[in-house]
Symmetry: C2
Subunit: 369 residues, 2 copies
């Protein structure tokens, strides 16, 4: 792992929780949406992995910024940006929505919250969706207002998150369905809370707008959480790869389209709604995709992926590894790879060079099983 420091600056924004997580022993940061995203604590990667799968963690994920789109044309603009049909969407629900350009290239993969028909939040991955939305809205002369609201998400993740949150917010919070959201009271302040989060271990995301109350809530969760063995944490490399939670900029970007990334169920080409890249994606679908995101299992016990690594068959390049980690569950390296046609079939044997040694691997579906 790199042991090079991050150089702080106002441009790499702190979050309301930064001073707390630094006291709690954060050891590494990533940058995400021009903001600090904790990337490790004192516990080892494996220890925090087992902890997340057994107990409960509080995550500072304020870097998941919101793009708020409101106004008469807001529904039209949001729909134009995503290949997912939102015509039957409901208030109080979250929707995972690939955002694409007119060529079908992926711009982001936010969770879209429909606050109401004329007010939407796009809870974004790491790219400036606000600029794309502004450009489109200006170009189309849409009647919308587009801002980044003051929202700093803290996530409560892990199997014991349900018990912890019930202790704070009461029984009602456990009635929240997956990808539902509602407002819940904490000592007189309302917080928007969704049953969601960037792990498959269950939990909630608290969209904190009232910073003062949010900080009290942060401290209170740690106070009440002692009996559930609560710890600070962050999106977890092993857990997210095992669960195939794809990461924009790592696993896919503007040069990939949603059909190549296995987002087929969020690509509603037969719908009546109007979105960018629809005709282009129809063409691609008719012709067949030329590359595909696959899982890969590699016979090795360690890896650090800081850039794409070539994947080969008989010394010929057939794709690239984009994320990877040693999985203590699978007892080998697992990763996410973009594989060229016609090689993207399950059980295909591949080669990869790590630290000047050639290792063997096999392609598989994701999530890993």
């Amino acid at each position: 792992m790199s042991s090079i420091n991050i150089a702080k600056a106002k441009r790499l924004r702190s979050t309301p929780y930064t001073s707390r997580i630094e006291k709690q022993g954060v050891t590494a940061y990533s940058i995400y949406n021009h903001m600090l995203l904790p990337a490790g604590f004192k516990d080892s990667l494996e220890d925090s992995y087992y902890h997340l799968k057994e107990h409960v963690q509080i995550w500072d994920v304020a870097a998941e910024r919101q793009v708020e789109i409101s106004g008469d044309d807001s529904a039209k603009l949001v729909q134009l940006m995503t290949c997912r049909d939102l015509s039957k969407s409901k208030d109080g629900r979250c929707y995972y929505c690939p955002i694409i350009d007119d060529q079908g290239g992926l711009i982001n993969d936010p969770v879209v919250l429909r606050l109401n028909q004329n007010k939407w939040w796009l809870s974004i991955a790491d790219s400036d969706v606000i600029l794309f939305a502004k450009g489109l809205a200006i170009g189309k002369n849409f009647n919308v207002k587009i801002v980044e609201p003051n929202v700093d998400i803290m996530a409560v993740q892990g199997p014991k998150s349900f018990s912890l949150m019930e202790k704070v917010f009461g029984k009602a919070i456990t009635d929240l369905k997956f990808f539902g959201f509602d407002y819940f009271d904490f000592k007189g302040a309302k917080h928007l809370i969704a049953r969601s989060g960037w792990s498959k271990q269950g939990g909630y995301e608290i969209y904190v707008q009232n910073t003062e109350s949010g900080l009290k809530l942060y401290d209170y969760l740690f106070e009440l959480g002692t009996e559930f063995n609560v710890k600070p944490g962050c999106p977890h490399l092993i857990e997210r790869i095992e669960s195939a939670l794809l990461s924009y900029g790592n696993d896919f970007d503007l040069n990939d389209n949603p059909l190549e990334c296995g987002f087929d169920k969020y690509v509603n080409l037969d719908s009546n709604v109007n979105f960018l890249g629809k005709e282009k994606l129809k063409e691609i679908k008719a012709k067949g995709i030329s590359k595909k995101l696959m899982g890969v299992k590699i016979n090795h016990d360690q890896i650090n992926v800081s850039k794409a690594i070539e994947i080969r068959i008989n010394s010929k390049r057939v794709g690239e590894l984009r994320s990877g980690v040693y999985s203590p569950t699978f007892k080998q390296v697992i990763g996410i790879a973009m594989i060229d046609k016609p090689f993207f079939t399950v059980d295909t044997k591949v080669e990869i060079t790590l630290n000047n040694e050639t290792k063997t691997g096999v392609l598989c579906n994701i999530p890993f099983v």
Copy 2:
């Protein structure tokens, strides 16, 4: 200073020079346009400051990404995005161009390179201008192609950069005028080189497209540079604040307009060209700005600005410090601050609290003299 590591990932892109600068002892990274930007080497901040002002440094500034806009409507799109009149722009010239939205809010402040009338590069600061350009172009139905080309800038900065570059490229390179660019040969490969860079110490930026040749050139510059005391370096906090080279995301952002940032000479409201926010800026100009970017000198010997710090007069908030550093030349802290009307006048005395102690300061014009 923070001693928290950066967590590397493919999403925080390496540059072609990364392995070299890590061998050369980089100690800190910033992230800029989703890419690693070196932020410090083994030498102290002051040592590298004096070195930059006396000798020559090679900088990995590949993070200054290019947005390439080409096609029949490219000139129209570039002009639409900037308040600077580009109607008389010439091929082979660089133009510093604030990019604003329809409300006059600043989106970026790139150096725009006119390759020809139908092909432009925007050498951007830290925001996804490509997404704004794409949104606008799609919305306006412009006939353009917008891509991020494979260009990784290395900068040669400092007073001895002229002698070093002359040794490599011959006399012709010294004929290049400030903000001019042309193609120069290095061992059979052509490189676009501009007389520019993010310091006021003179120098060049080499827009490397041929990576293999660029890496050879990198090594060759260090080889030939021995006699000029060449060192690796990076944009320098002290030098850039003294020189008032403003930093997007630090000193200004979407919530500021170019008139508030002292960019008046790049705001051509009386021109005939059509750009976003023109009417809005006319209104603002007529009414007068409500805040202004100023220099501030503070009676103290150290500072780290990782978020905006309140500036007060008689305990009342009148603005915020956005960048700051101890200057060995001025023997005090100097900084860039956004100050509210009517307090933004030179020689105004202000207060600022640093590490729980109130310090006094005085407002001044920038650049510092």
